[in-house]
């Protein structure tokens, strides 16, 4: 069961270029989460995580693309969010994933906190090229 790859049922994407895009993106994530019948708690975790990552992308990556995918794996449904930017990249991912570490003035909880809120979390970054973060939240996860 664990090796089963999820099937993408539906795709959606949105360009994130300014702070005004955060709430519309979050609302769209919520719409999809409601449609697959995600519980209120998981919905809240998902949109809070989405909020962190979108804000990160705006602040450090100068905006990018937010993709929403509806997944189906076995009997479970879920939502995958992919955030891709062409920003400066993260030199030390391990450090960035540490609680309390920040290069800005924030709390330094965005990346590690989001990892705790999601079921799956993947980060790929290349200095000078950009960062791509992929997260999955299962409906019953």
């Amino acid at each position: 069961m664990t090796t089963m790859t999820p099937v993408v049922l539906n795709k959606d994407s949105m360009i994130i270029a300014r702070e005004q895009d955060v709430v519309p993106f979050r609302n769209r994530v919520k719409e999809h989460a409601v449609r697959i019948g995600m519980s209120l708690l998981n919905q809240t975790k998902l949109i809070t995580g989405a909020s962190e990552l979108v804000r990160n992308m705006l602040k450090y990556g100068k905006g990018g693309i937010g993709m929403i995918e509806i997944l189906s794996k076995g009997r479970d449904n879920g939502i995958r969010l992919i955030f891709a930017d062409n920003g400066p990249g993260i030199p030390d991912i391990q450090k960035a994933m540490t609680d309390g570490f920040t290069t800005g003035k924030s709390m330094g909880l965005g990346l590690p906190g989001t990892k705790r809120l999601m079921n799956e979390f993947d980060i790929k970054s290349e200095v000078g090229k950009g960062t791509t973060i992929t997260v999955i939240k299962w409906k019953n996860g």
Partner: protein, 286 residues
């Protein structure tokens, strides 16, 4: 050797303007309530003069948009002002599209050679299409400005400070708390604390859909500022799912008094102020 089309335009300028005006006035969508015929004529004439005087042998064949900067400026200011006045995109687009019609119409009347006519018409088409695209871009930008302004206005009206009791203020926050919003909330709260001499402020976040680390940070800052003013701040309206999410995210709100409902926050406020609210005892005499 000067381009034939340019010569025709220069010679027939007033004729073109008349045709253009007729086409614009014919349009059923013309908003006579928004612009008088006189103003429309002035706008049209300004644009046409600028356009014809900018046309040259070089730029008519190879549309170089930089040459038409002046024309575009006029067009942009017209479409932005129209967007703000509430014109529909069709009405705004018609302004430049009817000019194209008038220009092509004049060319076909004046030029006898079909091949040359076709060639010149294509040039004009290309230039005017460029203008049309530009018009839509600026029109949409004008509309976006309207939306941004409304967003600001909504931020202002949706942060009222309510005096719920003598010495107790309540601030229901609805929507998301971004930096700009926090600034407004903080300013109006601190101002009100001074004006009313209140000791306690209750920030109710029942209407905040998600508390991420940025929102939490703003809440903590607001509480800290309130404390500096000598008042205590209680955060209420923390829903169960928000509480669990905040914990997973790793945000520490333990230094702040938090309550699940506004009612329990008010109760805490009463306790702090040593107030007691009791049901009236009715003493019965026998």
């Amino acid at each position: 050797m000067k381009n034939e089309a340019i010569k025709i335009f220069q010679k027939k300028k007033s004729n073109i303007l008349e045709k253009w005006m007729t086409l614009q006035l014919q349009d059923e969508g013309l908003r006579e309530d928004l612009i008088s015929n006189e103003d429309l004529r002035i706008q049209s004439e300004e644009l046409l003069s600028s356009f014809i005087s900018t046309l040259s042998d070089a730029n008519i064949e190879h549309v170089s948009i930089d040459d038409f900067e002046a024309v575009k400026d006029i067009l942009s200011s017209i479409s932005i002002s129209r967007a703000k006045q509430g014109y529909s995109p069709r009405e705004t687009g018609n302004f430049v599209l009817t000019l194209k019609e008038a220009l092509l119409n004049t060319l076909s009347e004046e030029m006898k050679d079909p091949e040359a006519l076709y060639k010149q018409s294509m040039f004009i088409n290309k230039i005017m299409d460029n203008f049309a695209i530009n018009t839509f871009e600026t029109f949409i930008k004008g509309r976006e400005d309207v939306i941004y302004r409304q967003t600001d206005e909504i931020t202002q009206i949706s942060t009222p400070v309510i005096r719920v009791w003598d010495g107790i203020l309540a601030l229901p926050i609805i929507g998301t708390l971004d930096s700009a919003r926090t600034q407004v909330v903080m300013e109006s709260l601190l101002q009100e604390i001074v004006e009313t001499g209140s000791n306690i402020a209750i920030l109710d976040i029942s209407g905040v859909p998600a508390v991420d680390s940025l929102v939490a940070q703003h809440l903590i800052k607001t509480v800290a500022a309130t404390r500096l003013m000598g008042a205590e701040c209680i955060i209420s309206g923390i829903r169960p799912e928000i509480a669990q999410t905040v914990v997973h995210l790793g945000i520490d709100l333990s230094q702040i008094i938090t309550k699940s409902t506004l009612a329990s926050a008010l109760k805490t406020a009463f306790t702090i102020l040593k107030l007691e609210v009791n049901k009236k005892q009715i003493v019965k005499h026998h």
